[in-house]
Each structure stands twice: as structure tokens, then as C-alpha cells.
Amino acid sequence: MLYFQKVSKVYPDHSTALHDVTFTVNRGEFLSLVGHSGAGKTTVIKLILGEEAPTKGTVSFESVNIHSLRKKKLALYRRKIGVVFQDFRLIPSKTAYENIAFAMEAAGRTDAEVAADVPDVLELVGLQKKMSNFPRELSGGEKQRVAIARALVNQPELIIADEPTGNLDPINAHEIVQILKKINELGTTVMLTTHNRGVIDDLKRRVITLDDGAIVRDDEHGKYSL
């Protein structure tokens, strides 16, 4: 569903973040992207989200070149992707419920759909009792669950989790990965970037290893090998 073809990215300060990267993400896959800091993981995600444009090559979702999309189409395209970040990126002025509802409202869902789906997805991540809490009143693990619920609620085709366990203790990290596995088993493609060796070795799924902006390994049942 997602195609990187000979993609290079050079930032305005002449630093090369990616060099001639080619890979494909298949529908229903659980793919992990590993690498040191500065290996290019974040750049890959920014390219997928259309936050950055490649210097060379193309990034396509299905048959559409992401970087040829205009503002409006880009917003529509982003609704097909759910994103979870290491720093959660919740809207601080909105409650857990409102954060998730906002993603649905932005996608143009009706009030009835919002009222029906938000409690369901909060239940899926085990947070139905905290729906009225603001992000500042939640623990790191709880915030990440809200972020996952928000990413999930529009039934995206792809969920990108960028270091989702980076700020969490091992128990919470394990729980977050279990939730992502559950989501993947329900049919959603998941792309995970992480530093966490335990998480990768535990998953036993496809692993792409990036080093210095290039792909050095792509293993079907990979292990953390850096």
C-alpha cells in the first residue's frame, strides 16, 4: 500500500537524512523501523505524512504520489493514517474524550457517530473511566493510550507509531505494544519505529534497519541487530 522509490532527502543545511531508500509496506503488515538516532526514521515518517517532501524519488500511497497532493487533498489523505508519537501530542486544552472526538469531527463524522465510537475506542484502550480527564491529569501510559485511541478512531488504513514506548516504563511499554498488536490483528497495517530491543525481539515481525540514511537490513522475522 505504501511505496518508497529511490527516495533521498537532503535538508536545507545540506545534511543527508535519507539516501536512495526503496521499500514497500504491504496491507495488513506489522512493520518495525529501527535505527540509531539520526538514522532517518523520523524523516521516513515525515515523508509519509507529507510534512516534508523528498529531494529525489517518490513516496506513494496506493497509486497516489503523496507530495503532489494539494492542501485539501493532503488533509483528506492524512485521515487515512493514524499517528502515535513518543511525546503523545494530545491537545492540552481538550479532555481525553474531546481529543478523540476532534479527530472524528475533523474527518466530518456526524455527532451520532462521534457519540457512539469514542466510548468504544476508549474501552478498547482501557480508558473509559478517564474520558473526562485532561492530558495533564493522565500518566504517560494513559496519554499514549489516548493517542492510540485517537489514531484508531477513524479506522485508518495505516497506523504509524513513532517511538510510542520511548517515554514509558517497561510495563506500560509492553501494554502499548500489546494494544498495537491487537489493532494489527483486527486488520490495520501498523508501522512502528523504536529503539526498544525487547519490543522488537518480542514481536517477531518484519524489521527494516536504517543506518545513516540507508536501509541496511530488511528481515521478514527480524530481530533487533544494531
Binding site: 505524512l49 492542501k71 485539501k72 488533509a75 483528506l76 489523505y77 492524512r78 485521515r79 499517528v83 501530542r89 494530545l90 491537545i91 492540552p92 486544552s93 476532534f102 479527530a103 469531527e105 475533523a106 474527518a107 466530518g108 456526524t110 455527532d111 485517537r150 477513524n154
Partner: protein, 308 residues
């Protein structure tokens, strides 16, 4: 869908306005100050206009007729003066009335009254009291009087003296001053309003700067530019509405204090009654200004963080 989105945007704006108490208070305070400047300009320009009308009204030119001029001749001159386009009114004061007025003015002055008794005849001539539409037009009227056959060098002139030539300097200065004041008023108003609007915009910008992460997240979850911008604009417009209501109410104690303080310094003009008579127009003006400033300030501030 449009109305659902509009409803959501307004609701989100209202919730933000309500929850960000400190930021909302600061924005409303600054905007109230800005609107107060705008309202103050409106009220003081009304005050100035009435003051100028008052002063203009006090300026006149007196045409003193000779004692041997007949009533008919005087009325003929009055009519020809009234035919001038510059002239607003001409008041005729007969010799007898002039004497009565003179006595009244000097009723406590024994010496003057005694001297008057010594005279056999009424020493005063009739007077034509001429008012022009604009102070600058007195010169034209005076020139007309000089060229008139009944004045100056022509045989049997009936005009003894026109006091314009004594008052010329004062009248010229006054019309120049009024001109300058009116222009200055416009310039000062524009400058003050610009400053007020800029300060408001900066405050809103700082408030929205704190929300730049929020804007980035909204974009990431796929909100369109308009949907991201909407709640901020709604919030800015709410600031404007609240500030307009506060400002309108605030003008009551201010004008009350001012009218007590100024007394009848400004003649018949009373700021308080002017404010009360025009409160609805003032409220609408301030609401419109508040809405426009709130909208523009938020729109410009968010635009910065929306990017592509």
C-alpha cells in the same frame, strides 16, 4: 455538513474562551482598551463638533450704521446682505433698541449714563448683526460691504463702521484653528485606532503562539485549514463581543463623571445625554469593530502556524 462544522467551531471556540480564563481575560482587557479608544474618539469628535459649532456661532460681524441713516435704507442693506450666499442671518437692531441695550449694559456706570443724559439726541446708530455660514466667509461679506454704494466713498453712505476690520485677526485665527483642529482630530483618531488594533493583534498572536503545538496536532489528525483556524477565530470574535459589551457599559460612569466635571463648559452639549441617546449606535459600532479586530487578529496569528 457546513452547519455541523460551524456549530462545532463555535462550540470549540466558546469552550476555549471559557477554559483559558487567564488568556481570555488578558485578550478581553486589551481589546476593551482598544475599543475604549475607538469609542472615546467617537464621543470626543461629537464633543468637538458641538464645541466648534458653538464657537462659530459666537462669531459675527456688526455693521454700525450712521445715525442719519433711515430705517428704509437700513432694511434695504439688510436685504442685499441676506441675498449673499455666504450669509446665514442678518439681525437688525434699531437705533432705539441699540440705546436700550447700551443703557442696560452700562446701568451701573453713573458717568456714562450721566453723559448720555447730557446729549439731546440718541447718539447711537442702528446695527446690522451679520452671521456667516463659515467663519472664513466674513472676509467676503466685508469686501461686499466695502464695494457697496451705501458704504465708504459713495455719496450719502449709510455705514459708519464695520467691526470686521477690528476683528479680522481673531476671526482669521479662529477659522485657521478650527481647520487645524478638525484635521488633527482625524489624524490623531486614525493613529490611536491603529495603535489599539496593533496592540490587540499582538496580544492575540502571543495567545495563539502558546497554541502552535495544538495547531500542528490538529493538522496531523487531518483537520482542514479552515477547521483548524475556526475555533481560534470564533474565540477571537467572542473576545471582541465581550469587550464591546464591557466598553459600552464602561462609558456610562465615564461620561457621567465627565459631564459632572465639565459642567456647562461645552455649552449645551452634554456627553452623558449624547451617550445615552446614541448608546445603540455606539454598541453596534463597538461590536462591529470588536468582531473585525478579533477576526483579523486571530486569522493572521493562526495563518503563521498553519504553514502548508
Amino acid at each position: 455538513m457546513f452547519f455541523i462544522k460551524l456549530k462545532r467551531v463555535i462550540k470549540a471556540g466558546f469552550i476555549n474562551f471559557w477554559r483559558n480564563t487567564v488568556v481570555s481575560l488578558a485578550s478581553v482587557f486589551v481589546m476593551t482598551t482598544a475599543l475604549f479608544v475607538i469609542g472615546g474618539m467617537v464621543l470626543s469628535s461629537a464633543l468637538f463638533s458641538s464645541l466648534i459649532v458653538d464657537v462659530k456661532d459666537k462669531v459675527d460681524v456688526n455693521v454700525y450704521l450712521r445715525t442719519d441713516a433711515s430705517g428704509q435704507e437700513a432694511l434695504a442693506l439688510k436685504e442685499s446682505l441676506e441675498a449673499l450666499p455666504e450669509v446665514r442671518s442678518v439681525e437688525y437692531l434699531s437705533r432705539e433698541q441699540a440705546l436700550v441695550d447700551f443703557r442696560e449694559r452700562h446701568r451701573d456706570d453713573e458717568l456714562v449714563l450721566g453723559a448720555l443724559e447730557e446729549l439731546e439726541d440718541n447718539p447711537l446708530g442702528a446695527v446690522l448683526n451679520v452671521r456667516a455660514k463659515e467663519p472664513s466667509q466674513y472676509e467676503g461679506i466685508a469686501v461686499f460691504l466695502e464695494g457697496d454704494p451705501s458704504v465708504g466713498t459713495t455719496p450719502a453712505p449709510i455705514v459708519d463702521k464695520v467691526n470686521f476690520f477690528q476683528n479680522k485677526l481673531v476671526i482669521d485665527r479662529l477659522s485657521a484653528l478650527i481647520n487645524i483642529l478638525q484635521r488633527l482630530g482625524v489624524v490623531v483618531s486614525v493613529v490611536f485606532v491603529c495603535i489599539a488594533v496593533l496592540v490587540t493583534m499582538n496580544t492575540v498572536r502571543v495567545a495563539i503562539f502558546a497554541s502552535r503545538e495544538e495547531i500542528a496536532v490538529m493538522k496531523l489528525v487531518g483537520a482542514s485549514h479552515n477547521y483548524t483556524r475556526g475555533p481560534f477565530i470564533a474565540e477571537g470574535m467572542m473576545n471582541g463581543i465581550v469587550a464591546a459589551l464591557i466598553t459600552t457599559a464602561l462609558f456610562y460612569p465615564v461620561t457621567l463623571w465627565f459631564s459632572n466635571f465639565a459642567g456647562n463648559f461645552f455649552g449645551d452639549f452634554n456627553v452623558l445625554s449624547y451617550y445615552l441617546a446614541n448608546i445603540v449606535q455606539l454598541l453596534f459600532l463597538l461590536l462591529a469593530s470588536g468582531l473585525v479586530v478579533g477576526f483579523l487578529a486571530s486569522w493572521l496569528a493562526v495563518r503563521r502556524y498553519l504553514g502548508h
